[in-house]
Symmetry: C2
Subunit: 402 residues, 2 copies
Amino acid sequence: MPFQPMASVTRQLSRRSVFEALLHRSPISRADLAKVTGLSKQTTSEVIDAFAQQGLVRPVGRTSGNVGRTAVLYELSPEGGHVLGIDLGARVTVTLGDIAGRVLAETDEPTDSRGGAWALEQIARLADRLARDNHTHPSRIRSIVLATPGVVNPRTGAIEMAPNITGLGHLNVVGLLSEKLGSPVAIENDINLALLGEIWHGCAQNVANVAFLALGTGVGLGLYVNGQLVRGENGAAGEIGYLPIGGDPLQAEARLQGCLEYQVGAHGIVRRYHEAGGSEVESAREVFERAQAGDPLATGVIEETARLTALAAATVVATVDPQLIVLGGSVGARTDFADKVARVLLRLAPRPVEIRTSTLGKRAGVVGALSVALNKLHDELFSVADLAAAVPLPPPRVHASR
Amino acid sequence: MPFQPMASVTRQLSRRSVFEALLHRSPISRADLAKVTGLSKQTTSEVIDAFAQQGLVRPVGRTSGNVGRTAVLYELSPEGGHVLGIDLGARVTVTLGDIAGRVLAETDEPTDSRGGAWALEQIARLADRLARDNHTHPSRIRSIVLATPGVVNPRTGAIEMAPNITGLGHLNVVGLLSEKLGSPVAIENDINLALLGEIWHGCAQNVANVAFLALGTGVGLGLYVNGQLVRGENGAAGEIGYLPIGGDPLQAEARLQGCLEYQVGAHGIVRRYHEAGGSEVESAREVFERAQAGDPLATGVIEETARLTALAAATVVATVDPQLIVLGGSVGARTDFADKVARVLLRLAPRPVEIRTSTLGKRAGVVGALSVALNKLHDELFSVADLAAAVPLPPPRVHASR
DNA sequence: TATAATAGTTCGGGTATATGACGAATCAAC
DNA sequence: GTTGATTCGTCATATACCCGAACTATTATA
């Protein structure tokens, strides 16, 4: 094995170029690939031959009707690799995709209420069945991403504060799952992945600076800045439940649960309705329904919720200046609620910011997980990471001035 | 014209590799360069020869004392290119550096109070003199970065809200300055650059996630996330003067000046001292002095200022989860004040965050400007940007699921 | 049927890189 | 001093990769 790092870089770049063209323009001929990538026909052909031998690419017919010789058209083969996106929330959702980003199948069921290891077992079972039902052996799956609530440590992948699923924090989820499923597993916060889902296939496509405000059982924020996800040093970026908004942040409940979440989380909405003298309700959705039915107490609670949410949004606008704010989660995705928030925000922010509601809804998490799994697979195959890491240009060390 | 027409990618990578090694380990021999870069001695030698011919590199002696043939040591030549960092605030500061990041000279004087075009003229004069005094013709300067208060549009470079220097907003600063100085000019917000200064040579070295909280005449935030500066869609990231903290954000002054800035800005401190019944003072510094002298009114004002600052810091922690918060600016850099902030923040944040005070002080802005100018020069010479842009791997377009 | 156009392959040339051999220069030990 | 080990830097050679041009194959159209 003659190890020639530099020499292989250029071929890797060519491969990557061709792959990308296939990703975006398949079915496509060798000739068109050469035009699109800017590579010579010669190089393109070599790469395609290699891809075909690797099973990454397959012919799908020929051109016809045009003058000249017919061209063989190629596309990425589903056999090239499969990826899995998993969302672990109140339900477990598993999505199977192929290397080209095509969604092949999706399944879900309520999460095993015993939590912890049982939930992982459930995931493995669903994933296995999904793969087999789609003529794919589970071992063919090359990249798996799991969306989970809680703070995910970006270095270790440990789940540090999982509020809803019990007993996840003590498990080595990455290790257990990747062993069960036989493929590399990555974990990411569900709100972050919902954001990436909206960016990939939802309402935030082609935007480099987006904030995703999730309001449901909890409160959370996903940040996408400079075309990158913001995880934070401990994976705790976007934990805006702890924003000092809506009460005394030094109060006991506020310190424990988070000041904003105490008010705006689903429990907070119900509690505030009761405190205002409202009759028994079970869920935040009921408060919304009563408000729509004309209950003035409920309306007041909702208005206040919208005001606090707008304050949180204004906070994000002031710190990060996104082009777009996406509202999601069971509460946030309601268009009536989003309208209220937008109205307040207009008076709070120094400049207007576009607000949209999530278009993917509950699927945002899995879709985002799939997109990350896909990116990981692509990076593994056509890594430019080595290249970027090989020649960084950091600020120079200190030199004495003369 | 040292423009290599389409130097092949692989050679460019080698050049970059060697350059980076020179940057960090000079003086260094050809043999050691080969070891460090992983390139062959042959390639390394070719690159060094090219650099030498280009004037980018020069020999600086030989090794001695070791067994074996002596090696010629090389370092980056100051002739390789010069850069300029400029800070335009109450004073104009100009720093001259060379391609290796060595600071060659620095000068400053009070900003021309007539502002606008006069200030630009002043900058040009200072820069010209600085260059000539250091045996460098101004035309040798290849990259200039200007630090300025206000919101700098990241696309156009226009200054959109310059509070202190009058008449800057209406000028095409980039165009005028680059014409006067004969070199490409970039503009960046002064707080952002102060942050980068601290990261380069100050108290935030080797940290990937930093927040820089500047408290002085105004209030501002610089964010460094995932090893990148956060500018925001409109360059308005970090405009935390508008954070809804410390009062009703819908109040007239709050909406105009920014809610937090109205309280915590230097004017706000003075005003609050007067409102509390304190006697005439001119500046925030006097309030601090009186507090130190035992004035209970002043102490109260300072405590409240620290509390509000801590709230702002907690906001940043909750949204972005930095590893480190740097306090800077004439007020923020005071260690006594920083201690107070740290104490309050400890009780606000769900996890402790390190707080430091700026070590570069007033020079942070120029140093940061110089670092960016340097990076721009390096990127121009050894751009890997073309390379990264040539083969992106974005999420694929939507495919119909089957 | 002839012609123009397009697809894909073959071949030669140029630029890189790595490797190993070789001369040059130095220290250390005898 | 002389010799040997050691390191520096260059030369020569082989290989990988890319491109462009020539060439063959295949098609629509006049």
